[in-house]
C-alpha cells in the first residue's frame, strides 16, 4: 500500500453500480455531478469502466440476480480501491428489511469502507462520503509508511 500517493486525494474516479435501488440515490449521484454541486471541482469523475475506477459508489439492497455481478465488478476494479454505499437500503436494508430476493445489505456481499445513509441520500451527503473515503485512503497511507 506504500504506492498510495497523494494524488489519490485529488483524483478519485468513481464507478456507479445500482444493485436494485429505487433510483432515488442514483439521481442524487448524478445531481452531485451537475453544476449545483459539481464534484469535478475536487477531481472526482464518473467513469464508464470499473477498470478505471478507484471508488465504487453502490446503491440499493443487492438483489439475488445482481449479487454475482456486483462481486465481479468489484473484482474488476484495480487496487487500491474503496467502496461507498449510498442510501439506507444499501447500508442496512432499510425499508426493505425483509425480503426473499435480496442478498444485501451491501457489506454482506463486498467489503464496504464508507456508509452514506439517507433515503435518499442528499448530494451533500454523498460528497461527504467521498471525502471520508479519502480519509480512509490517507489512513492506509499512514499505516504503510
Amino acid at each position: 500500500m506504500a504506492r498510495l500517493n497523494k494524488s489519490f486525494d485529488k483524483a478519485l474516479w468513481v464507478f456507479h453500480v445500482n444493485s436494485g435501488s429505487c433510483n432515488g440515490c442514483d439521481i442524487e449521484i448524478v445531481a452531485a455531478l451537475t453544476p449545483r454541486y459539481d464534484v469535478e471541482r475536487f477531481g472526482i469523475k464518473l467513469v464508464g469502466s470499473p477498470r478505471h475506477a478507484d471508488v465504487m459508489l453502490i446503491t440499493g439492497p443487492v438483489t439475488k440476480k445482481l449479487s454475482e455481478k456486483v462481486k465481479r465488478v468489484y473484482d474488476q476494479m484495480a487496487d487500491p480501491k474503496a467502496v461507498i454505499v449510498v442510501g439506507t437500503c444499501g447500508c442496512t436494508g432499510g425499508t426493505f428489511y425483509e425480503s426473499y430476493t435480496l442478498d444485501g445489505p451491501v457489506d454482506n456481499v463486498i467489503p464496504v469502507d464508507v456508509y452514506v445513509p439517507g433515503c435518499a441520500a442528499r448530494p451533500e451527503a454523498i460528497i461527504q462520503g467521498v471525502v471520508k473515503a479519502w480519509e480512509k485512503l490517507e489512513k492506509l497511507r499512514g499505516d504503510s509508511v
Partner: protein, 206 residues
C-alpha cells in the same frame, strides 16, 4: 425491419405484432355505450358465463367528469372470446395489467381493461375476475390478441403459478433463475414464500 423472418424464436415479438391482422379500423370505437349499457352488452353476449356485474359512475371534480368502472366475475373459458368481441364490437382494449390474488381454494385473476380512451372523460375501466381452482390452474394466453399482455402473463406464471396456455415465451421475467421451482411469492398457502426463505436484512451483521 423485415429481417425477423430470418431470426425466429425467442422474443419474436415483431413477428407477433405483424401476424396479428393490423388495420387502422381496429383501434376505432365501434359502439358508444354507457357503463350500464356495456354491462347489459356483456350480460347479453355471455349470458350465464358472466356474473355479478356492477357498473359504477362516480363523479370526479367540479366539471361533471365521471369515473366509469365495471366489475364482474366471468368463466375463464370466455376470456379470449371476450377480448375478441371487445375488439370486434366495442373498442380495441388497452390492457392495463393483470393482477392476481390467492383466495384459499382458488386463485383469482383480475384483468383490468380500458375501453373508450382517446377522448376526454370517456374511458371505462372494466375489471374482470376469473376464478381458477388451485388443482386446475390455467388460463388462456391473449398475447396474440393484445401482444402487450406478455409481461403481465409471464408475471402471473412466476408469481402465482398459473399455467398460461399457449404463451409464446414462458421464461421467468422477475424472479432470479436460481429461485426454487414451485414457490410462488404471491400465494398464501404452502407454495408461498417459506419463512426460511425470508432474509432479514436488518439483522445481518448485528
Amino acid at each position: 425491419m423485415g429481417e425477423t423472418g430470418e431470426v425466429e424464436g425467442g422474443f419474436g415479438l415483431r413477428h407477433y405484432i405483424e401476424r396479428f391482422t393490423p388495420s387502422a379500423e381496429e383501434f376505432l370505437r365501434k359502439k358508444e355505450l354507457t357503463p350500464q349499457e356495456l354491462a347489459g352488452w356483456f350480460a347479453e353476449k355471455f349470458g350465464e358465463r358472466v356474473r355479478d356485474i356492477v357498473a359504477k359512475e362516480k363523479p370526479e371534480g367540479t366539471k361533471g367528469a365521471l369515473r366509469r368502472t365495471i366489475w364482474m366475475n366471468a368463466d375463464r373459458e370466455i376470456l379470449r372470446d371476450m377480448i375478441r368481441s371487445l375488439i370486434d364490437e366495442i373498442h380495441y382494449p388497452h390492457l392495463s395489467v393483470i393482477s392476481g390474488t390467492d383466495e384459499g381454494e382458488k386463485v383469482e385473476l383480475q384483468y383490468h381493461i380500458q375501453v373508450y380512451y382517446g377522448e376526454r372523460a370517456t374511458e371505462t375501466t372494466i375489471s374482470v375476475r376469473f376464478a381458477l381452482p388451485k388443482d386446475d390452474l390455467w388460463i388462456d394466453s391473449i398475447c396474440d390478441l393484445i401482444p402487450g399482455a406478455l409481461i403481465s402473463e409471464r408475471e402471473k406464471q412466476e408469481m402465482l403459478g398459473v399455467d398460461v396456455r399457449n404463451i409464446y415465451d414462458s421464461r421467468r421475467y422477475f424472479l432470479p433463475d436460481d429461485f426454487p421451482q414451485g414457490v410462488y411469492p404471491w400465494r398464501k398457502d404452502e407454495t408461498g414464500i417459506k419463512p426460511e426463505m425470508v432474509r432479514k436484512l436488518s439483522e445481518v451483521g448485528l
